[in-house]
């Protein structure tokens, strides 16, 4: 019956993440499917912010979804689901690039398809934004993941510390270091441009 099926879909859609996770942990396929659908965009976004290439981000999101299927039973509700998911996606992205760098397969221009939300950004600001993104991509892994979570995903230092399994103090230090490195990188680019 199509009517009852629609009703069931609506009931499923109304379920909270917690109910869906419980369902998936019991082996309920529909709950898991909805959970992936609900969080796919988020996984893709984190993956893209990590690597800066759309195709890579899609691959990483797919691998992360598969990992989620294998590890959903490990989620113990000790932290927010999204915090746990950040960790999963970032780890998947690290593994992905480890293999990719070994194979040296696909090359691409980083952050080519960035979507500017504010149309009022001037062309100079747009160029600067791209430089900033490139500087982020060149950061060491630990600093990069911190700056993505704190400055881009707007997580508090406490939440970022939970996601990255470290102390809040470490997060503060990493953010400070990352800002310093980004500033240095931008200065070098400016100098390079002025010489040209």
């Amino acid at each position: 019956m199509p009517g009852s099926s629609n009703g069931r879909d609506i009931r499923m859609a109304e379920k909270t993440d917690q109910e869906l996770i419980h369902g998936a942990q019991r082996g309920d396929r529909a709950s898991f499917s909805l959970l992936v659908e609900r969080h796919y965009r988020f996984m893709f976004k984190v993956a893209w912010q990590w690597g800066g290439i759309r195709e890579d981000a899609e691959d990483i999101a797919q691998e992360a979804s598969m990992k989620l299927a294998g590890h959903i039973g490990d989620f113990r509700f000790e932290s927010a689901f999204t915090t746990w998911l950040y960790r999963l996606v970032i780890n998947t992205a690290k593994d992905y690039y480890k293999v990719k760098n070994r194979k040296n397969s696909r090359e691409g221009q980083l952050f080519e398809d960035v979507d500017y939300v504010s149309p009022e950004l001037s062309p100079e600001e747009k160029i600067m934004s791209k430089d900033v993104l490139k500087a982020i991509a060149e950061l060491p892994e630990t600093l990069r993941e911190t700056i993505i979570l704190v400055c881009w995903q707007q997580l508090s230092h406490k939440e970022a510390a939970e996601a990255l399994q470290c102390q809040e103090g470490t997060i503060s230090w990493r953010v400070h270091e990352a800002r310093k490195k980004i500033a240095e990188s931008l200065d070098m680019k400016k100098k390079g441009k002025s010489y040209e």
Binding site: A24, Q25, G27, R29, F32, S33, V36, E37, Y40, R41, F44, K45, W48, Q49, G52, R54, D56, A57, E58, A61, Q62, S65, M66, L68, A69, G70, H71, I72, G73, D74, Y97, K100, N101, R102, K103, N104, E107, L110, V114, D115, Y116, V117, S118, L121, E125, S129, V132, L133, A137, E138, L139, P140, E141, C151, W152, Q154, R179, I182, A183, L186
Partner: protein
């Protein structure tokens, strides 16, 4: 870059929308993975069965460690054996066996004295303490190198590895293999020697001095002359052990491949 500037720019940059095809593909593979393992029960919590243990033991790392460890243990034992390395020179052994024939003369007395002292040294089984200590020291060095290498690698990894970094060179990879495998080999060698020492002390305890010839022919003065035979024998044992391990691994892998191809045909 000051703080407000970065905090102002980044949240205004949004990721592109993922394609519908990619989303469907991800959902499909996630559901396939979920069907294989409903509930996402972690593999870690599953108890090991005999197949898992077999699979783990057949890993290249364990096979190489066992073979290498046994070979290293034999080599170290041969190196530390008193006969081969001047503890009992060949001519002294000749004196030792010819001494009783000479009687009365001062030379004969001297030969007897040497013979007595050598009999005292060789009558007790040669200590395995030196090879064990040597192997343990080597293990400590090898594990230390691996530990510090890992630390350095972690540091390097956290410093700069942007996507698109060049792949590692072949020499670097070979060096990496050696750094990772050598501690296991030396560790296995130490364990093997310790096991041999324990086995020997048990045999001595239960069978008395008769076992010297079983455990180490070189400790028996009568067998001193055949030290080269003993070395050859130990090399033979090592080669046989290597062949056995490689053979077992080969047949295990072949059987596994056949099993996989049968399953693939069924599918």
């Amino acid at each position: 870059m000051n703080e407000p500037e970065l905090d102002k720019i980044l949240p205004r940059l949004h990721a592109p929308e993922p394609s519908k095809e990619a989303q469907d593909r991800a959902l499909k593979s996630a559901l396939e993975a979920f069907d294989k393992n409903p509930g996402g029960a972690s593999q870690k919590t599953r108890l090991l069965d005999i197949d898992d243990i077999k699979k783990r033991l057949m890993q290249k790392r364990y096979v190489f460690s066992c073979i290498g460890g046994a070979a290293l243990a034999c080599a170290v034992l041969v190196f530390f054996s008193p006969v081969n390395h001047g503890f009992i020179p060949e001519n002294t052994q000749e004196t030792l066996f010819s001494a009783p024939a000479v009687s009365g003369g001062s030379g004969g007395m001297a030969s007897n004295a040497i013979a007595d002292s050598i009999v005292t040294t060789t009558a007790s089984p040669p200590s395995l303490l030196a090879p064990i200590l040597c192997l343990l020291a080597l293990s400590a060095v090898a594990f230390g190198i691996r530990y510090f290498y890992n630390k350095r690698k972690q540091k390097e990894k956290s410093e700069a590895h942007p996507p698109g970094a060049p792949p590692e060179s072949l020499t670097h990879r070979v060096l990496l293999k050696i750094i990772y495998l050598f501690p296991d080999v030396v560790g296995a060698g130490s364990l093997f020697t310790i096991f041999l020492a324990v086995l020997r002390s048990l045999l001595i305890k239960f069978n008395g001095s008769k076992v010297y010839s079983i455990v180490d022919d070189r400790s028996n003065p009568a067998a001193g002359a055949s030290s080269s035979h003993a070395s050859l024998l130990s090399i033979f044992y090592v080669v046989a052990l290597c062949a056995l391990a490689v053979g077992v691994r080969y047949f295990y892998r072949k059987r596994k491949q056949e099993k996989n191809s049968r399953l693939a045909k069924k599918d």
